[in-house]
Symmetry: none
Subunit: 160 residues, 2 copies
């Protein structure tokens, strides 16, 4: 849906520039931008964006974005995201799983850069990485399935 995506964008914009302390407040800001929706929908949007209600400077509550970058899980919509340079040349060769560990093999010297980008996304499915020269080890969250890990990584490694 076109409406929803631009609304999510608007939410991100607002939250990154203003101090919003409640959903109702955010609802008002969105209304100013011409978005008409209910608190229920907003709650769902925030959940999807993984926005959290945090505690700001004066002890006041504040909604904050947690993701450096957005990644859409299952592209319900075609929605061609722009492709970053990382995706162009990530050196990815293979991935294998064992227990709660995944091992990615890369071309020589690519591992640490790839790990850096994975870390950056702070996928909840991946609690940490460690890299050698051509190998990245991922520790997978206990609740995460391998499919979920692959989907998450696809943001960075489309050719996975």
């Amino acid at each position: 849906m076109k409406v929803k995506n631009s609304r999510l964008d608007a939410i991100r914009l607002i939250l990154s520039t203003q101090e919003i302390g409640s959903q109702e407040e955010l609802l008002n800001e969105l209304a100013k931008e011409g978005f008409k929706l209910t608190q229920a929908t907003l709650s769902r949007d925030l959940h999807q964006l993984r926005v959290v209600k945090s505690v700001g400077v004066q002890g006041r509550y504040r909604y904050v974005l947690t993701r450096p970058h957005q990644y859409r899980h299952e592209g319900t919509e075609g929605e061609m995201r722009p492709v970053s340079p990382v995706q162009e040349a990530n050196g990815f060769l293979s991935i294998k799983f064992s227990g709660n560990i995944a091992v990615i093999h890369t071309k020589p010297s690519y591992a640490s850069t790839l790990a850096y980008h994975i870390d950056n996304y702070e996928f909840p499915e991946i609690i940490g990485t460690i890299a050698g020269d051509d190998t990245v080890m991922l520790i997978i969250a206990e609740e995460a399935s391998r499919g979920a890990v692959l989907r998450a990584l696809r943001t960075i490694i489309p050719n996975i």
Copy 2:
């Protein structure tokens, strides 16, 4: 007050080892540990600890600690432990568990020093470590609980 501080400690311990999705749930866990309090008090505790309700891997809500660093507001108790240089600057940021592995994130370049110190102690709970630039992975002994690991690490990382 002594009670409150140990309760805050307990909250941190619980949140760092379990998936807690509501205050009531946390209240139950605290009850198991012998803490008796109401939701109102817990809400205030969480606010003080700047715990946020976030979204975990399965789309489930989860309370997470935002500040790995401990801060006691009022030095109610003198308790001035001598602080070693390691403790001064260990670069510790966060710790997460999955299976028998713990992942510690540190400030850039701190990981190997921290791992070195952990190795040095030869904690029976930790059978080995491996470090990158800002990540230390710990392999946990089969018999060791996560609480035990945290307690052990507290020797080196008081702000854990």
